[in-house]
Amino acid sequence: MKNSKIIVITILFLGIFVTSCDDDDTIIEPKGDYENGILIASEGPFGSGTGTVMFISDDYTITENAIFNNVNNLDIGNILQSIGFEEDNAYLIANVSNKITVVNRYTFEEITTITEGLNNPRYFAEVNGKGYVTNWGDPLNNDDDYIAVLNLATNMVESTIPVAFGPEEIVAVNNTLYVAHQGGYGQNNIVSVISTSSNSIIKILEVGDVPNSLTIDDKDDVWVLSGGKPSWTGVESKGILSKINTDTNSIDVSFDFQTTEHPNFLSVDDDYLYYNLGGNVYKMSSTASVLPTSEEISGLYSYNMVAKDGILYATDAGDYASNGKLYLYDLSTNSLINTFTTGIIPNGIYFN
């Protein structure tokens, strides 16, 4: 009894002492176990099962698989297509399950699940407390595609914006949304420009065929990478890299690839654009006037790829029926610096 009293007093005393000591530079409470790290979203197996999110701490010392499932003892759902972030929340979009699970991005505790108003949800962007989620609608119907407008305070879909078929990636610059219409199970070739003040399409920009990735550079311009139509379509077309000037909402400049070249996975890091073409990683200055001719890294057939702070994160889905891999390359030396085993079909790479 006495002993424990002493301990309590000691702790209290030390507590006061420690706090008073730190007064000047205020303590930063950790926001959760999953702060300061990388989140890898894996789609999960086809047909059944669940997607998972893996956490890797920034110093690579801590890794944990299936963090949502561990924390909540629940499944995220089938085909975790992407994750959207806003303030402390993360929005886990399960495409086949038609639901968005809202979690605290640092603790991964479930806040709520949104199921109403979604039909084949794909990607998320946020503007002024609203989430904008691209939806394919029914797979064989090209006329029912839309953007679901999610009220992030109530977590309800409050309206929809009908769009052309196959809306995929979506980014926001100020109050304007840029939606790449990759084309669902088919192919499309446009970017819809949507004003969030009116929730209406203000412009449709024609880009290359099959716009597969969007990214925003340091000057707040949007880059669109179009893969081109693949050869099996019988009308194979070239890949095109386009830059949308977000002041004028027009295409400032575009770069054509060869007809048989189908680039993918565009990202921007430190004023350089990175993309993958036929298993080779290319790097290009955002002010360059021609496409690069020599690759930085070769033989990297990734499932997704993101360059960030001098590191290239590339995922590999393997045989799509077992755990995948994440490869980290140092972009100053272009050498492999780390490898992690992820969940099944690793698709999303995010930084927490």
């Binding site: 197996p45 047909g47 059944s48 099962g49 669940t50 499944d75 995220i76 759902g77 089938n78 399960a94 086949v96 399950s97 038609n98 029914d138 797979p139 064989l140 119907n141 693949p230 050869s231 099996w232 379509t233 189908h262 993918n264 036929g278 298993g279 057939y301 889905a317 045989d319 799509y320 029926a321 077992s322 755990n323 099944i344």
Partner: protein
Amino acid sequence: MKQFSRFLFFLFLINNWSSYGQKDSIIALDIVVLSDVKLKNFSAGYNVNELLDSVIKTQTSLTDLLNLNTLIYFKENGYGMVSSPSFRGTNASQTAVIWNGINVNSQLTGQADFNNISIVNYNNISVKSGGSSVQYGSGAIGGSIHLNNSFHFYNHFNNELQVSYGSFNTLNTSYKLNIGTEKSYISAGVDYKKSENDYEYLGYAKKNRNGAYNFLGFNFNVGYFVNKNILLKLFHNSSLNDRNLSGTLTYNAKDAYENNDSKTLLVLDFLGEKFSSNLNLAHIYEDYKYFPNRENIDQYSYGKVTTFIVKYDASLYLKSHDLELKGILEYDGVNGTGSNIGANQRDVFSAVFLLNHKLTSKMDYNVNVRTEVTSQYNIPFIFSIGSNFQITKLYTLKFNTSKNYRIPTFNDLYWVPGGNTALKPENSYQFEIGNDFNFNSQKFNLTGYYIKSEDMIKWLPNTSNIWSPINIEEVESYGIEFQYKLLKKIGNNKLEFLTNYGYTISKNSRTNKQLIYVPKNKITGTVSYNCKNFSAYYQLLYNGSVYTTTDNYSNLSSYDVSDVGISYVVPNKRKLTTTITFKAQNIFNEKYQNVAYRPMPNRNYKLKLILNF
């Protein structure tokens, strides 16, 4: 009668082909029954298990029947949904379904959907373990399932009406008519089943919400002796199957799937004591429609295939040497169209030679070879050799070895995108040794096998990230199968016990990992008791744990499911026999899945009435 039986006796094999054949249900001598003769005569060294009519009657689906009575593992995408087998550790397209001697695996998928086959109209269902591509063509690698209609040439007129109703609003009805004389036979049947199939997902507070199904089947067979040497047979079977597709624990499905199937076979038998032959003409049609949203019936994808077969088969029987030789020439013309496969045709010509020789009264053997030429590739030479040695009265040693193949499907070849017309057929070599121990009331069989499959077709994303099939996998499967059967009769009491145990290793040769959805252990067991008009049974199914990912990182746990049934035959009132059966399945409410995230039904009941008149 006699005049016909003389010509038929060599078509009608005396049970030397099967370890546990139909000795238990010996057909009275004045009844002539014709069935798939090739299966019986040219299967020396193989295990062929015939499922008796009484066993078939306890089930309503081919999946359930085989799952509970054989060592085949079934992957069902929810109860009643698309169901695919793994036989001896092989994949779903390496089990062939043979309908009255014709391979009816889908030309689109290469596999049979075991929940799209009604069993009520077949009076003979046999399971042949091991490869028999020589006789039955593509896909007969792990084994083959034989659905046969037999012909009964004796005077009779029988009707059978079955009605059953059970849990989840499940209705099964069928009507069957059999009429026979010494010269002709007609059987006709119609069956209909439907179910809400909205069983509970035990432990999840969810239901199987999109699992309803609806099946209508027709069956029609005619046999007619034009004269004592010419027998004309017509077989027809067709079905319409309309299913919603069950979701998973993480997916509320709203899709639906429709299948139409039709099979018609005309056989002209020329019967002789020494030389006989037959001409077969078959027409097989299959189609499917897939609706991503069942409420929107205008939007669907589809595929349909028509197959036309001409087959001529000649046999020479040398009684003095107990030697039978058979040659078969066959042409298959396959035409497929569909949303994703364009319009394509495949022509296949094959030649088969079969030899069955009873060397001594204790030893017989088969040598079978096949060659095949198609519009896309050739199957140069396929063989099987098998033999039975009766070493003692109690013990028979069997062995067989064979080379088998599976040709690429229309989806593999022509699917847009990804279809690969440069695919080669898969091939497999196998070897098997079986031991039959036959005591009076007890029978054992212990069989070991080894299968090596090469050039197996697998769909993988290519360098342009398009899924495309390639001949890449190599798989080695081996295992042990044990069967024990006991039949005891004491006065009016009849007790039967049948159990199967299988140990299966099936490994990807490159990674050395067990294939997904192949349990290392499976047990089935049935105890049945019969006394006069009353019978009862208990059935157990145990499936060992299966891996669900190719790195063997995730698995499904093992499970055992128990069923019980009782049946009472109401004493005859003149010509009417009424049988009432009651069945309870999964009596211990086991929570189980045979495909990950797709729970199977909780405890459920079925009451059935059978009227024979």
